[in-house]
């Protein structure tokens, strides 16, 4: 059942031209940024070579790219998640799912995984771009891997958050703005210096961004995703009634 829903969601996302536009535009922006960073790096490369402990190509090109990707995804994911539940409610198709003999958990997980498949595709395309550095020089595969993992976890967290807001309302725009506002708020927490910093997903992404995989960060992302998926399931279940 989860696979059926995930596959349908993935297909529906690809059926709309806006998804293709968005994918094309994203690739363009990332390629632009990638080339700009590459240019900068080539300019200063000669000077860097003289210093003793020079930063490599991967950390000066791939890591900033992952950083940009994480911010773009934060803005973008609410636009995808608003379609998942809120728009189905507005289009009156939600009733098909709510009267179907499937559990609320399956509905929520199916929708989450369907979106995650699309996001994985975006991230994979960006990962390939990072690997393109290998054509010219030696790359730090570990750093790229930890960046891709970090962006992927961050995307999954924002998707879970957006899905929850989508479940709360019938208005897709409200769902998108709600999720965006909270993501932005969490992102800004990064700049504060008090203890609340640890609540921000982007703080935990920073370590992965610099190539450090802490188990505490992984646990944080796991908890964040599970918490919002759990809240969504709980909300949908209460709304549908029934035992499960």
């Amino acid at each position: 059942m989860i696979r059926l829903l995930a596959r349908k969601e993935f297909r529906c996302l690809f059926a709309s031209p806006s998804t293709w536009w968005m994918l094309a535009l994203l690739q363009f922006i990332f390629a632009w940024f990638f080339l700009a960073r590459l240019d900068d790096y080539l300019l200063v490369q000669a000077q860097l070579a003289q210093s003793g402990n020079a930063p490599g190509a991967t950390i000066s090109i791939a890591a900033p790219l992952a950083n940009v990707l994480s911010i773009v995804l934060m803005m973008l994911i609410p636009l995808f998640t608003m379609r998942l539940i809120a728009e189905e409610r507005r289009n009156q198709t939600w009733i098909l799912l709510s009267t179907a003999p499937i559990s609320s958990t399956h509905i929520v997980l199916g929708k989450f995984l369907g979106l995650l498949a699309l996001l994985s595709l975006i991230i994979a395309a960006c990962g390939l771009m990072m690997c393109a550095i290998a054509l010219g020089t030696h790359v730090d595969v570990g750093l790229i891997a930890s960046n891709v993992l970090g962006v992927w976890l961050l995307a999954a967290s924002y998707a879970a958050l957006g899905l929850y807001f989508s479940a709360l309302t019938r208005q897709p725009i409200v769902a998108a703005f709600g999720a965006l506002a909270v993501s932005l708020g969490l992102w800004m927490l990064e700049m504060s210096d008090s203890i609340v910093r640890v609540l921000s997903p982007s703080v935990h992404f920073q370590a992965l961004n610099s190539g450090l995989i802490n188990s505490s960060d992984l646990i944080y992302f796991g908890l964040f995703i599970c918490a919002f998926l759990g809240l969504t399931i709980h909300h949908i279940r209460r709304e549908r009634g029934g035992a499960r």
Binding site: W94, I95, T99, R240
Partner: protein, 246 residues
């Protein structure tokens, strides 16, 4: 009646805020029976049907479908139900075939049964020529038929249709009525409608709702006893309105 019960609703009540929208509605449906739900606009027909289909939780009361309680054994009960809501739940960017396959799979039709079920539903609703078209490009009548096909594709024991013939042309109305009669042989059907002649030509029994209450629940023969069905309906609903005002 000796035929088994397929759907029974007991004392359904629904509050919206402090207002009582549905007041103590009880219904029973036997296998092979077609039940017509009548009433003025806003009498609570669609709301009642949504509660019977498990789309809406009643404030109190319970619904049993094929002996499964919809609140405790929701999955088993819902698997025996096919529901066409007031607005057909259609994904506009899917093709008819993909959509019907998806909704059949949602209702636990196995991969082996799927081709037969799909072909039968399409043939019954006259959708054979439009299988590969996008639902969004179809006319209102065809969309309505896709909605009906979605409700019957898994061959449920109980079919709930909320105004199934709205937006159809006279030929299509005739086809859909034939289909409902055919469905009435194998499963039970509840339909809501404004059209009294529809009830007359299709239903074995009629329930009339007024302000969320059942004011009539009997066979059509009973309704016919005094008069033709239209004047009976008007008499019944008028009596109730007068009675409600002191």
């Amino acid at each position: 009646m000796s035929t088994p019960l397929t759907l029974s609703a007991q004392h359904l009540t629904l509050f919206r805020g402090s207002r009582c929208v549905i007041d103590d509605v009880s219904l029973e449906l036997h296998r092979g029976e077609v039940l017509g739900l009548l009433g003025h606009n806003g009498a609570g027909k669609s709301t009642t049907l949504q509660m019977l289909a498990g789309a809406l939780q009643p404030s109190s009361g319970r619904v049993e479908v094929c002996d499964f309680d919809l609140s405790r054994q929701a999955d088993l009960g819902k698997a025996c139900l096919g529901f066409l809501p007031e607005h057909p739940p259609l994904y506009r960017d899917m093709t008819v075939n993909n959509f019907l396959t998806f909704s059949a799979r949602l209702h636990r039709v196995s991969a082996a049964q799927l081709p037969d079920f799909l072909a039968l539903a399409k043939q019954r609703c006259g959708l054979n020529e439009v299988g590969d078209k996008l639902i969004g490009t179809l006319s209102k009548g065809y969309q309505q038929r896709v909605g009906i096909a979605q409700a019957i594709i898994h061959q449920p024991a109980v079919v709930i249709l909320d105004e199934p013939t709205v937006g159809l042309d006279p030929t299509q109305i005739r086809d859909i009525r034939n289909l409902i009669r055919e469905l009435g042989n194998s499963s039970s059907v509840i339909l809501s409608t404004h059209l009294l002649n529809e009830v007359e030509s299709l239903c074995d029994r009629a329930v009339i709702l007024q302000n969320g209450k059942v004011i009539f629940n009997d066979t059509l023969a009973e309704m016919h006893r005094h008069n033709d069905i239209e004047s009976s309906f008007i008499r019944l609903t008028a009596m109730q309105t007068e009675g409600a005002q002191p």
